[in-house]
């Protein structure tokens, strides 16, 4: 299984080089639903990828489904309302829990060097982060329930329109020697991947960047420390395709994260401690190892809040 994760392509285009390095012989399927209504503006993408492309047009297909399948359209709308309501509650709980983490973290810092209570403070920090993980898990479980309700209200497998698109997509994917997933709106991308039950065979090489890279992971985490509404916390959004495991993909990390705030970064790394928080900035090109691991040189957030480069043994070393 060959998978390459790239940094954003807007200022440093490396997708063509990555594709050539894979020695792909045959058409390339592209998934750029994250571009939404710009999905068909693909001249530049075609040029970068060499021209032999099969655009899957998942976004436009999803509009076709909503237009033609009324039952699914109304169920999808109801799902979106319920998902928005769930997200609102999740964010409320998350913000309060994260405020608690930072408060305990400050206390822990203040207590450093003092013997009394230091161990308790660290235990309190661990436990407060565990509370955040619990809220993440609660949200994921609720979302799973919403998907089950959607499936119950409008069974996707019984939709003729969706079935037709799925058949055509399976043909297109079957003809493709590689798949490329671009950036864009990760919510739209995930929604369309799910709608059309896109699965990419293990033996088909994949190149993905930004939102596309996030969509390949098991768990998609949204983040933006510099949003105009102030510091909002990273939030678990949805499951991805799961082709890439053990990774939280962080595209545009330098632009979107306050990497100089080590306390904040440390909390993020500890919150997702069972996975590597991988920075995918401009120029990054990571071909995963044969067993799906991160290659040497991958930049990750350490639990100390610093950015580390993975060494040969797959462990972080100070960069």
């Amino acid at each position: 299984m060959r998978t390459v994760l790239l940094g954003p392509q807007r200022f440093m285009t490396t997708a063509g080089t990555a594709l050539r390095s894979l020695g792909v012989d045959g058409p390339v399927a592209t998934i750029n639903a994250g571009w939404e209504e710009r999905e068909d503006v693909v001249d530049e993408l075609d040029t970068v990828l060499g021209g032999d492309t099969r655009h899957l047009r998942l976004y436009h297909r999803s509009l076709d489904v909503i237009t033609k399948d009324e039952a699914f359209g109304s169920a999808a709308l109801a799902f979106r309302d319920r998902h928005d309501a769930l997200l609102s509650l999740y964010r409320l709980r998350l913000q309060n829990a994260m405020d608690g983490v930072y408060a305990v973290q400050r206390r822990t810092r203040e207590g450093e060097g003092r013997v009394r209570g230091e161990a308790t403070a660290h235990a309190a920090l661990d436990d407060s982060i565990e509370v955040v993980r619990h809220i993440d898990q609660w949200y994921a479980a609720q979302l799973k329930g919403l998907y089950a309700d959607l499936e119950g209200a409008a069974p996707i497998d019984s939709s003729g329109v969706i079935g037709w698109h799925r058949g055509e997509l399976a043909d297109l994917l079957g003809q493709s020697a590689a798949v490329v997933l671009t950036g864009g709106h990760v919510g739209t991308l995930l929604r369309t991947l799910r709608l059309f039950a896109i699965t990419i065979p293990d033996d088909v090489p994949v190149i993905a960047w930004s939102a596309g890279a996030m969509a390949l992971t098991e768990r998609v985490v949204l983040f933006h420390d510099h949003g105009p509404e102030g510091n909002t916390e990273a939030e678990v959004f949805d499951r991805g395709l799961g082709r890439v495991q053990g990774i939280v993909a962080l595209p545009h990390a330098r632009r979107r994260l306050r990497l100089d705030d080590r306390d904040r970064c440390a909390v993020m790394a500890r919150r997702f401690t069972d996975q590597h928080c991988v920075l995918l900035d401009d120029g990054t090109a990571l071909e995963l190892t044969a067993d799906g691991g991160l290659p040497r040189g991958a930049r990750i957030l350490g639990i100390d809040g610093a950015v580390h480069e993975l060494g040969t043994n797959g462990r972080g070393g100070v960069s």
Binding site: H185, P228, E229
Partner: protein, 382 residues
Amino acid sequence: MSEGRLAVNRLRERLPVDDAVLDRFVARHGAPIIEGERATFLFRGEADEVRVRHRVVGLPDPLSMKRLPDTDLWAVTTVLPNGSRVEYQLETRYGDRYETFNDPLNPRVAHSPMGSSSVCAATGYEVPDWVHHDPEARPGELVEDTFRSKALRREQPVKLYLPARYNPSLRYPLLVVHDGDDYLNYAAMKTVLDNLIHRLDVAPLIAAFVPPRDRLREYPNHAPHARFIARELLPTLAERLPLVDDPEARCLMGSSFGGIASLSTAVRYPGVFGSLFLQSASLVFTDIGTDHGGGPAFDPVVKFVNRYRAKPTAPVERLFMSCGTYEPLITPNRSMVPVFRGAGMTVKYVEARDGHNWEDWRDRLRDGLSWLFPGPQKFVYE
């Protein structure tokens, strides 16, 4: 060395000077002259007295200018902290005749329903780039509509903003804007919405811009107005437009008396709206007695705010407040923040070194709108 000394003081040391020197001085420095945290206002002409009228709380108002000996140049220097923005006019007196006008040496003016004023912008103040037309931002649409209101006993015009790429099969949050025409005309709110939605700072939303007819009567806690907004406008819009059917997705907005209209409507119809956006709201109150100093127009405001303070409630979940630090309403606004929080609302409060004017309210739109209706920036990774 001239560094560190004010330009007008350097000029004083050169006196007497002829008109040509004064012409060059004004042409070179413009007016007002901003030097560090000091602003020097200038006027040229014959008068018995020249003063700067500014309404900045904390500074003498008016500020009397002094004539430079044997010249027609008048000047006064005042402190002006970084980031400040002040609207002002000049006032001259000839005998017992007074005239008030915009600063003829300063081309920068701001507009409002009351006319225009000159603008003095300190070091560090910049007009946000998102208030200007952005050719890359796809424009939304303004649709003029009229609603028959039983509560108000009249036809009520409303301008509806539909965002770019408006799609009736989607659902949108709703923002109801008091003084709707003024927000459009003097706070560039359509351009601001177009830009902030384009930049993903703000979620695509539908806005209803509602102008008042008799503002001083309808805005300070007026039952028919509240009934029109909550029981007539809202249900009609929900019928006609694809709105998210949830209080959280409904916000009332207004400035000054419009802030009181927003708050009092929410208090009369708790739970109907999820959030409020109050800008320099006229939250005047008294702790004892009835002497509030605001004149008869403020009587119903004070009555309402006093009653609210006696028994605070949380008619909405979230409240965004902004206020200028140079306006008289800064103290009441600051005082109300803990009251609102204590009632159980989540409050975000911001201040700016500005006054009670439309450009201050315009400049705070991104803070408020992006907090109340966060855009999909977190979802987009190009």
